[in-house]
Symmetry: C2
Subunit: 370 residues, 2 copies
DNA sequence: CAGACTCCCGGAAACGTTTACAGCAGAGAG
DNA sequence: CTCTCTGCTGTAAACGTTTCCGGGAGTCTG
């Protein structure tokens, strides 16, 4: 038997050397066969057999070191519990998988240190590229993005001159759609439950809300504005605070999680939705359709943004010399039962009536692209 | 300037060679300084300066090839949109992060081919270990798990003799808790909305439901059992089918997503929850608390299972010779408004009454560990 | 002042793979 | 029969890092 220089046969996993020795060929031939390129029938047979016998499995890291690519793409979002990121992830995944790569998701928990550390660490070549959707952006952060060793695409607002591929939407305008819709439905005491103002989306949505009210000549009543986290619990608590001091006839929420919290707070407090208070969320996630009544929501095109981000990333991986590009996805409004303008005689929120026809007032996702 | 043998200064990224040459030291010294081990003050200064000047960033892949560890741990679940996995992920993440590693999440989409492929591919050393929660397990699958080149921990039911670290719960018993609770509340026409029977959890829950009814001497009415996916839409559709042919006074759902779908179907059909139909979900996720009324739910200890799985994995990574271990987490029942036994005079599902005290009937997660 | 000890340094090997290159045998063409 | 071409093979270099090891300089001890 050719036992010339086998690797540690004691515990080490088999390498291409092991297979080559066992098959009685050189490592070059073994590698070629294992990669399906070249090799005589006899060699192929011997190598295949040897590989199977020792249970050879190639070391992807060594391969990557050689090929300079890992076939992995990462997505970093702050909170994987937010369904909007799930939708985005699904869109990205389908594009990425189609290119033969795999998608890895990393939750940063929103801590900025975490996110920069991730960028500096993960991007140190473990992945071929990365899509990141930061909710806070510092200069430090931006610097890490710009001189990342691997291609990065940012989903979300970014400084106009940042030399980074960027897919954005206009949530400022998005909030405007919600306000327009509510005003058209004769609501005037429109409240707003927002996320933290020191975040990029929080700030944009606040600006959008103020601008929209102004455009309709409505004075902003500060008691109708509350701020919390972009989470369910915070949304519910913020709404409770708001309801304790004001009497809105409509509520715009900065995302669907907050809107669900608001809905809960409203119902617990005995308000009818939409009769007493109309409710509009944002992001138009599956969650909005899961509620009863179903929630109107401003779509920021998460799926579309995810798809485009993935495409930008793949293109940049293919050609790193491309100039930075920026794409924009327009918001739209999905009107559902939680804000449908209905006559008082036909309340949408039925609780103890007959079954027949009760489903009617809950329209199936009528998309009003305003 | 010592321009002896710099790497391709044209486009290639700086390597430790670049830094060493620029600092006028050997690559060994450069590496030592960059790793913070050894080096004279002067050398340290020179290397640090050189590294900063060229913007050196270590190649993690090369480092991993040498050290045989990547510092990455993967979690593979079928559907990242299911909040139960989000909870599990959070628990795992906190343990993994504490060990200085990073967690990557991969959604398999439930396709078994996908999952085995992932195992065979990702586990080819890109990660130091992997936690996987399969909902279907074939022999092929099991084989891939057993001779995975990296440590694997399975969350979920597995053949008793499978030599794989395993954290499980007893969802069979869990369903029993729900049925016991409903029977105690004088419900007798108890329906069941399950996931696919060819999945491990689906089969276990089906068995649990039948056993529990039998234990209470209740004959199973097949019209009260429906099957769909473990998803919201499927749960809603399945419940609609069930309601079209039967008249349950309680519904047990195989997970919270299904339960939310069932709630929607019930409310749309005009049934009051819990007066007309009591509802119990499973997994006790955040989603259950987000609903109105809040859903009772059988906790399968997702957080606990995630934590334990992560600990098992870290221990196995530290010592791969450990014998396979199996841990079990007991289910418990969280009773909330959707199944609270209340006198008819004080309906839980208030829809248009005053605000004061209306929150009372919605208890804050009273854990009844039966 | 000699010896032992400490500290730092550079050369070289190693991790496991892919691949450029050259050698070699066999086959077909002239 | 010789020349060329084709197809396969093995040697060795490369990817970028860490680390073992031997050597040299300096310091402390006796």
């Amino acid at each position: 038997m050719g036992r010339k220089r086998l690797q540690e046969s004691t515990d080490g996993r088999p390498t291409v050397h092991t297979v080559a020795a066992r098959a009685g060929v050189s490592i070059a031939s073994a590698s070629r066969v294992l990669n399906g390129v070249g090799g005589s029938p006899e060699t192929i047979r011997k190598v295949r057999a040897a590989a199977a016998e020792v249970g050879y499995v190639p070391n992807a890291i060594a391969r990557s070191l050689q090929s300079q690519r890992t076939g992995l793409v990462a997505l970093a979002v702050e909170d994987i519990g937010n369904p909007v990121y799930v939708e985005m992830m699904r869109a990205i995944e389908s594009v990425v998988a189609a290119s033969g790569r795999q998608l890895l998701v990393h939750a940063t928990g929103g801590q900025i240190a975490n996110e920069t550390a991730l960028l500096r660490q993960l991007a140190h070549r473990y992945v071929d590229g990365m899509i990141v959707s930061p909710i806070r952006v510092t200069d430090d952060h931006l610097a890490a993005l710009v001189d990342s060793p691997v291609p990065v695409v940012v989903v979300g607002q970014l400084a106009a001159d940042a030399p980074v591929d960027n897919v954005r939407t206009d949530s400022r305008t998005g909030v405007g759609l919600a306000v327009d819709h509510l005003v058209a439905a004769s609501r005037r005491r429109i409240g707003f439950v927002n996320g933290p103002l020191d975040t990029v989306p929080g700030a944009a949505r606040d600006a959008g809300f103020r601008a929209a009210l102004a455009a309709h000549g409505i004075d902003l009543d500060d008691r109708l504005v509350e701020v919390g986290d972009f989470q369910y619990a915070a949304g519910r608590a913020a709404t409770e605070r708001l309801l304790a001091r004001a009497r809105p006839d409509a509520l715009v929420c900065a995302n669907d999680l907050i809107a669900v919290g608001a809905l809960h707070a409203l119902l617990v407090a005995g308000h009818r939705v939409p009769e007493d208070v109309a409710l509009v969320g944002m992001d138009d996630t599956e969650l909005a359709r899961m509620m009863f009544p179903q929630l109107s929501s401003v779509s920021l095109g998460s799926t579309e943004r995810g798809r485009r981000a993935a495409e930008l990333l793949l293109q940049r991986i293919a050609d790193p010399t491309l100039p930075p590009r920026r794409e924009q996805v327009a918001p739209s409004l999905a009107v559902r039962a939680s804000s449908a303008a209905v006559p008082d005689a036909a309340p949408l929120f039925v609780s103890a009536t007959g079954p027949a026809g009760a489903d009617l007032p809950t329209p199936r996702t009528p998309e009003v692209t305003a």
